[in-house]
Amino acid sequence: MLLALRRIEKRFGGVVALRDGNLAVEAGKVHLLLGENGAGKSTLMKIVAGMIQPDGGEVIWQGRPVRFRRPSEAAAAGIAMVHQESLLAPHLTVAENIFLGRAPAAAMGFVRRRRMLEMAESLIEEHRFPLQASWRVERLSPAGKQLVEICRAIQRGSSLLVFDEPTSSLSEAETREVFRIVRALRDRGVGTVYITHRMEELRAVGDQVTILRDGATVHSGDLAAISNDEIIRHMVGREVTAIYSRTPYPPGEELLRVEGLNAGVLLRDIGFHVRAGEIVGLAGLVGAGRTELCRALFGLDPIHSGEIRIRGRQARIRSPRDAVKAGLALIPEDRQKHGLATLLPVAQNLTMANLPAVSPNGILQRSAERRAFAQYAERLRIRAESPRQIAARLSGGTQQKVVIAKWLFRGARVLLFDEPTRGIDVGAKREVFELMDGLAADGAGILMVSSEIPELLQVADRLVVMRQGRISGELPRGANQEDLLRHAMVGESAP
């Protein structure tokens, strides 16, 4: 046994990320780690890599109990991570990245450049990587960058490779290349932990499987002995505890229609619609393209082709300003970064998207601004001490309400909520849902992105499911979690 994790526990503040994490990885095997968003897969791997410390349980590495206090200790022991977001130095060459921090050195700290280049070249040749040692990393594709990370792991003689959703941004051909190398390493006795969301990938590369749900290991065994349906059942495996329930409103006019949309690097042939009074849930696993869809609709990523109609009128959206003018609003995932100017007063944040309403002829009417703030503070129950309180001092839930209020003040009819409940507590979540319900009642059309599948099932009138940059299915209200996961992981054609 290469690596064994036993009863791992980890809490972040009040949130339990892991309560009973178990995993046993053998040398020369590819071990798949599966689970819904938030099941604890990444947390578990961060513990293995020494990036975070467990609160309880044992990590046993090559037969000995260990505790990696920092990533360098895990790396020294032979554990290598291949990250979803590349952690390479973009301006250095492939060779320099492979040898980063451990370049062959001569006296006085000089690097022996030629020697390093030769060593990198022979490594690349031996494993038939489609790379050249002298290439600069910034010019590589995401797949190329992952290959460089794998090279680095091989060079260091790592005996365990951990892939955190390595193929979510790769093309099919690139994925095959990564798989070929993973298999080659397996045959040389390297152990691999592989986190993925794609069902067809599992079968192509995996030997064994461990499934996590709500921070605990619920299944472990040979991949050949388990069917796709069983895997999904293990991943869901629970009754959804209702934190919120609502009755949909009869939908009105069509507010948003998207047809044949191709955008950014990921989105292909997207089509769906949202009607007045509707809350449409946009589901999918990490990397499916949900946030990218919001960004494209809001003019943040380039749209290559396709049609967007807002209230029946074709909209040409090339910037957020176009989107706002057309009547769209985005409640972004990262409020602090994109939703608020946190150092400015709340009232100024409220009016930011509709400043002309309180500044006729360009002259600010502070009394009108205060009135607007008072009105929306009451309507949305925004708990701020005064209109002049800076936004940074508010709680996460209150900040979210300010962002929503900003769009209501603008009069937006189509609202894109990107992970609206991220980082806010349960009580505030309820309030956000109630707010969304109220908006729908007033005739707004809402597109809601969430990684929390139970939330989507409870709040949305119907669900649009995405997978690998495409719409893979639409589900009516009352669909269950298994249906959803099947669409999100396997696609429509699957059994």
Binding site: F298, P320, R321, A323, V324, K325, L330, P332, K337, H338, G339, L340, A341, T342, L343, L344, Q348, N349, T351, M352, A353, L355, P356, S359, G362, I363, L364, R366, K406, R410
Partner: protein, 306 residues
Amino acid sequence: MIQRLLPFLTLIALFVGLSIASPHFLTVVNLSSVVRQTAVINIMALGMTLVIVAGGIDLSVGSILAMAGLLGTMAMANGYSILTGIAVGLAAGAFWGFVNGFLITRLRIAPFIVTLGTMGIVRGLALIISNGLPVHDVPRGFSFLGDGELFHVPFALLLVLGAALVVHVILEHTRLGRYAFAIGSNPDAALYAGVPIVFHMTAVYTIGGLLTGLAGMIEASRLMTGQPTAGMTYELLAIAAVVIGGGSLRGGEGSVIGTLIGGFIMGLLSNGSDLLGISPYLQQAIIGAVIILAVAVDEFRKRKIG
């Protein structure tokens, strides 16, 4: 709170200290000369306040000042009226401010780089236009702008106060000012809110340029020449005034009153050094130290807020 008032208290302390240390300080002649000397930097710094609040910076103001003064005096030397000459200077300033804003917003190049470039371009053009020679042929009445008095008050002081009022109103009471704070405070949030960033950033740099043009005409009036080499290193003094007065180079912070206090602190430091016989070499070092001290105190205050 005390730390927020620190620039103001420093100014008072300097004033009182110099009154005691030198009998020549608290005289009408000396004080009105301080006011005249600081007018140029103060007016530039007021424009810079707008730019810095909006998250930008303008390194080209020293060159723009020279260009404005040169073109304005050349107009007068060629027989145009004093008012026309001043208008030419203001227009030249506004034009180059607009060019800065246009390049920054359209080419999306960092303000530091764009204005570093125009700093060289504008200075070079001023030297080419003038063959490197100053314009001396200026009508006598032009000296009123920099050295005249209205109701026994230095006219330059009235110009400073007028410019201060205008910039204050822009910052606190107009849509433009509000957008400047929004863009400077969090450009992403402003973008996501659909703020017309290009137009307003361009406007901010244009107004900054216009005020620099005015400063250029005052400088030319005080020297009674149009100097293609005028205003060297003034950009640093203008930025220093904003920063000493509590403006943040990260954007979203700054005020007219703070900038004026910053400008006068530097004016008093230099005047006081002259009166007390401190070498001008040391003066530069003192002003440099004050800049670092002011920012350090401000950072400390912000960190305590958390």
